[in-house]
């Protein structure tokens, strides 16, 4: 029992990060109908920027306080992600309004390649470390309740906490502020939103900025755990199935979907892994998404897709 709960908690903590990345994805889809394949590349790009800025900026300014260096690097990387959002809206999205979904999808594939290329040419292609002082040692909790207690990875716990707080703040932002309302309006009906004076372009820049921040936070957390390398982009792409599971347009769906996939990955790795071979984590989420596509294509919370003939 203790072991099961331990795996479950591990899965929930890992899932929280998927939820966060999936949220960035859903926001872009809701606001502009774009299925953003570049989300993974954005995570990689942001993590690369963070890793390099954390070395470069203290060098340029002659700072040797690690915390200050990390804060400045984080701000610089955030600024860079905002610039990326702005450029994407200017050079790509603005010219593709009202195009077919497939065209937009290809455009985001293009953006993904450009970001990966640009990332490696600016920041280099070595494996970098991000050291933001995450606690690395596990702790034992609930020793009274479970025999032998539960072994919790502190780093995962902090990461999940950060992701949860960010998800909470973003949700509040979209519920409570006028910009959030404008964004929900655009998601519901482009034409009506424009007719009451909501500028679509500005809303698109905002959602891509939010996706950029989400990518940065996820990139820093994964980068600090796994090292900053090309495979970060694929880890982040595991959030795509999450979105299919949750329903493309649903924020609660993205959050719940992330948790389900996080838990599913860990449980299947532990309980099925010994029977059918390891590495289940890598493909589990895609399998689950496939099953959903067959039986419930609108996802858990998405609107029912009705094709008019």
């Amino acid at each position: 029992m203790g072991f099961f709960v331990e795996t479950l908690i591990g899965g929930l903590m890992a899932g929280m990060l998927y939820s966060l990345v999936a949220l960035g994805f859903v926001l872009i889809f809701k606001a502009s109908g774009v299925f953003n394949f570049a989300q993974g590349a954005m995570v990689l790009f942001a993590a690369l920027a963070m890793a390099r800025f954390a070395v470069w900026i203290p060098g340029w300014l002659g700072i040797d306080n690690a915390l200050l260096g990390n804060i400045l690097a984080f701000l610089a990387a955030g600024g860079l992600m905002f610039a990326v959002a702005w450029v994407i809206e200017r050079l790509v999205l603005r010219h593709l309004v009202n195009q077919e979904g497939a065209t937009l999808l290809m455009a985001t594939l293009g953006i993904a390649y450009i970001l990966e290329g640009l990332g490696t040419s600016i920041f280099g292609s070595d494996i970098y470390k991000i050291d933001i002082g995450m606690p690395k040692d596990p702790v034992m909790i609930l020793e009274g309740t479970f025999e032998g207690g539960l072994l919790i990875n502190k780093e995962d716990f902090v990461a999940a906490l950060i992701a949860a707080v960010l998800v909470g703040l973003l949700t509040l932002f979209f519920q409570k502020t006028s910009t959030g309302r404008a964004l929900r309006a655009v998601a519901d009906d482009h034409q009506a939103a424009q007719s009451i004076g909501i500028p679509l372009n500005r809303i698109w820049v905002i959602v891509w900025c939010v996706a950029g921040v989400v990518a940065l936070v996820a990139g820093v957390i994964w980068g600090s755990k796994l090292g900053v390398q090309f495979s970060l982009a694929t880890v982040a792409l595991r959030a795509l199935p999450v979105v299919i599971l949750g329903g493309l347009t649903s924020v609660p769906g993205a959050i719940l979907g992330g948790l389900i996939i996080g838990v599913g990955e860990k449980l299947s790795e532990v309980y099925l892994g010994p029977h059918i071979g390891g590495g289940i984590e890598i493909w589990f989420s895609y399998q689950l998404a496939l099953v959903f596509l067959l039986f419930r294509p609108q996802g858990l919370f998405g609107e029912k897709i009705i094709d008019r003939v």
């Binding site: 932002f173 006028s178 007719s195 009451i196």
Partner: protein, 260 residues
Amino acid sequence: MSREIGEVILDLKNVSLAFGGVKALTDISFDVREHEIRAIIGPNGAGKSSMLNVINGVYRPQQGEIVLRGRRFARMNPYKAAQAGISRTFQNIALFKGMSVIDNIMTGRNLKIRTNLLLQALWWGPARREELAHRAKVEEVIDFLEIQHIRKTPVGRLPYGLQKRVDLGRALAMEPSILLLDEPMAGMNVEEKQDMCRFILDVNDQFGTTIVLIEHDMGVVMDISDRVVVLDYGKKIGDGDPDAVRSNPEVVSAYLGAGH
């Protein structure tokens, strides 16, 4: 009536619009005077909605121009139109389905919001005060339209007649100088229609708002409008005060011919 009809505020010149081979509008010209209620009538498919869509830039006509308070617009777009004080309702209600009545109407305040994104995100004093001021304004609109009892209801759950009223509320929250209404009374029962008529007249009377109105119910049109444009198959076949239009033989035959 207390209001004085003023100068021409909106002037449409030789507007033609086609969708592929379908000519929705052919060389249409008419003007709208400040503070008046101007109706557009005509059988189904005559091009009435297309006309409103041209005025607020949802559709771009192939020919013609729009002159708004002396400013020429060869290419209008909905955002520019909103900035210029034009707000509208839609024939197929286009409310934000997932949002409550009050949030829907709040979106109408969007152009008036001054505090920036950062202040909003931090829920900073000025942003919070501004939010409250806009909310007060929205409550006025809600009182005006007598929909206090459904303030918090998600609009998707409201009956059709009330949705139409919320749609009007969102347009009013913009404090427009010109209000475009596309069949605001379609699908309503007699009582709902009377309410809607009263709101339209009150808006016009109390706020001096210029109103361009598409309506099928001839009784209503003749009652509330100052001047009427008649369209048929995308062409203008009549223009003038209600009595003149009613006695225009071409208009009569268009309506009889279309089975009205």
